[in-house]
């Protein structure tokens, strides 16, 4: 479904990504972790073309992200993305947040879009808040709306960039629950997260990044059982202590 081949990226002289190669199969859940500044966000943003890269290529459902001929907006409309800071549109109500791209990008009818939005809102347990504005919801609620917003586009895969790291601890689980449920339903997911509990529960594979490179790319059990690299070991021991 997503295949990343030898991707490298520079910001001027600074090399953010070094020859990254990996694959996410249909229905697979892959967790990406690594220290701050290691390039996780950059890599995941390359997958839907939010960040350009200079060499290598990424193929999503048979379409090359790097090719200048690719209709990026169209590709993005088929890949859902969830951000660290939710990024709901503050000037629109929850209903309109859910409906906007369905109407403007997919060309759905307004009532159809709203109905679909409401159904998804119900699924994340927030149908009572449809008429509110993002600023009136808690962080965890906003993030669940953001997930529903992405799902409303009927994505073939979902990208998550630290979806819980801006949340207060008591709200993390309500978001993770939604993600676990999604994984069980067979959604293809690529998640940057440090929630190792989530990884243990649903991930098929774990990727560890450091200084822009993929240092480790292993099955979940192998990764948690015996990570090969020393850096991954130190990293794991640090975050598992918490």
């Amino acid at each position: 479904m997503i295949s990343i081949k030898n991707v490298s990226k520079w910001y001027g002289d600074f090399k953010v990504l070094t020859d990254c190669t990996t694959e996410v199969q249909k229905g697979e859940v892959v967790v990406v972790c690594g220290p701050s500044g290691s390039g996780k966000s950059t890599l995941i943003k390359c997958v839907n073309g939010l960040e350009p890269f200079q060499s290598g290529d990424i193929i999503v459902d048979g379409i090359s992200v790097g090719s200048p001929k690719t209709d990026l907006p169209k590709l993005r409309s088929r890949v859902g993305m969830v951000f660290q800071h939710f990024e709901l549109f503050p000037h629109l109500s929850i209903t309109d947040n859910l409906a906007l791209a369905q109407i403007k990008v997919l060309g759905r009818k307004e009532d159809e879009a709203k109905k679909k939005g409401l159904a998804l809102l119900d699924r994340v347990g927030l149908s009572a808040h449809a008429a509110k504005f993002p600023g009136q919801l808690s962080g965890g609620q906003q993030q669940r709306v953001a997930i529903a917003r992405a799902l409303a586009m009927d994505p073939i895969a979902m990208l998550f960039d630290e979806p819980t790291s801006a949340l207060d601890p008591e709200m993390i689980n309500e978001v993770l629950d939604v993600m676990v449920q999604l994984a069980h339903e067979g959604m293809t997911m690529m998640c940057v997260t440090h929630e190792m509990g989530f990884a243990r529960k649903v991930a098929n594979r774990v990727i560890f990044m450091d200084q822009g490179a993929i240092v480790e790319d292993a099955n979940k059990d192998d990764f948690f059982g015996s990570p090969r690299s020393e850096r991954a070991q130190t990293f794991l021991s640090k975050i598992l202590q918490h």
Binding site: K45, N48, L50, L72, P73, K74, L75, R76, S77, R78, V79, G80, M81, F83, H85, E87, L88, F89, P90, H91, L100, A101, K104, V105, L106, A146, R149, A150, M153, L159
Partner: protein, 221 residues
């Protein structure tokens, strides 16, 4: 003071005020529209586009409005003549309107630019991630938020524009100030008429800026 002549002159003053307000409203609409396009150009990744827009802004911000009004009064009829091949005169009103729109656009541009820059990059990413195009992202997500934040500044600039419309005196347009001046001249009471005009300008500007300040406070808390 005797106000009877002011009362007799009221219809003339009113029609002057109508012209001032018409000019103001059209110039605000045109100026904000053009200013927004300029701001988008200044922020675009296209080097040529952003340099040109930057030059436009610096250029209009460094010459007097009165120069622009006078120049356009002389020049716009020529340009229209060249463009259309006809010799039809366009009135002073339209040459002034074009001058105000183009001049104010430089000032509105800087306000809009700051407004757009105050919206976080994450909002752009989120809109793109949903498959929106550049123009959808700007129209549906970024500009609506930016304009909400910028409203007080845009209004303040428009109050300045309201005062500046009086400069159309230079090309003999009968706006509010010029109606007052000529009305006063006719009856030999220039003092009263000018003071009255000043008072009216003051009340409108002061009232409007007090309201804007209140709005600003509401928006910041």
């Amino acid at each position: 003071m005797d106000f009877s002549s002011l009362i007799t002159a009221m219809p003339g003053l009113l029609s002057g005020m109508m012209l001032t307000l018409k000019l103001l409203v059209l110039a605000i609409i045109g100026g904000v529209a053009l200013g927004t396009l300029l701001a988008l150009a200044r922020l675009s990744n296209n080097k040529l586009l952003s340099t040109l827009a930057g030059f436009y802004v610096n250029y209009f911000r460094s010459i007097p409005l009165l120069l622009v009004i006078t120049w356009f009064y002389f020049v716009v009829p020529f340009i229209i003549g060249w463009l259309t091949g006809t010799n039809e005169p366009i009135g002073a009103f339209y040459s002034c309107l074009v001058a105000f729109m183009m001049f104010e656009a430089a000032y509105y541009c800087e306000i809009v630019r700051a407004g757009i820059q105050s919206i976080s990059k994450g909002q752009v990413n989120a809109a793109y991630a949903l498959g929106m195009s550049y123009s959808q992202t700007m129209r549906l997500v970024i500009l609506p938020q930016a304009f909400r934040k910028m409203t007080p500044l845009l209004l303040q600039q428009s109050i300045i524009l309201f005062q500046d419309t009086s400069l159309v005196y230079a090309v003999g347009l009968m706006d509010f100030l010029n109606s007052a001046r000529s009305g006063g001249d006719i009856v030999g009471e220039l003092h009263q008429f000018l003071l009255f005009a000043g008072l009216v300008y003051f009340i409108i500007s002061f009232g409007a800026s007090t309201l804007v300040k209140r709005l600003q406070k509401r928006l910041t808390v």
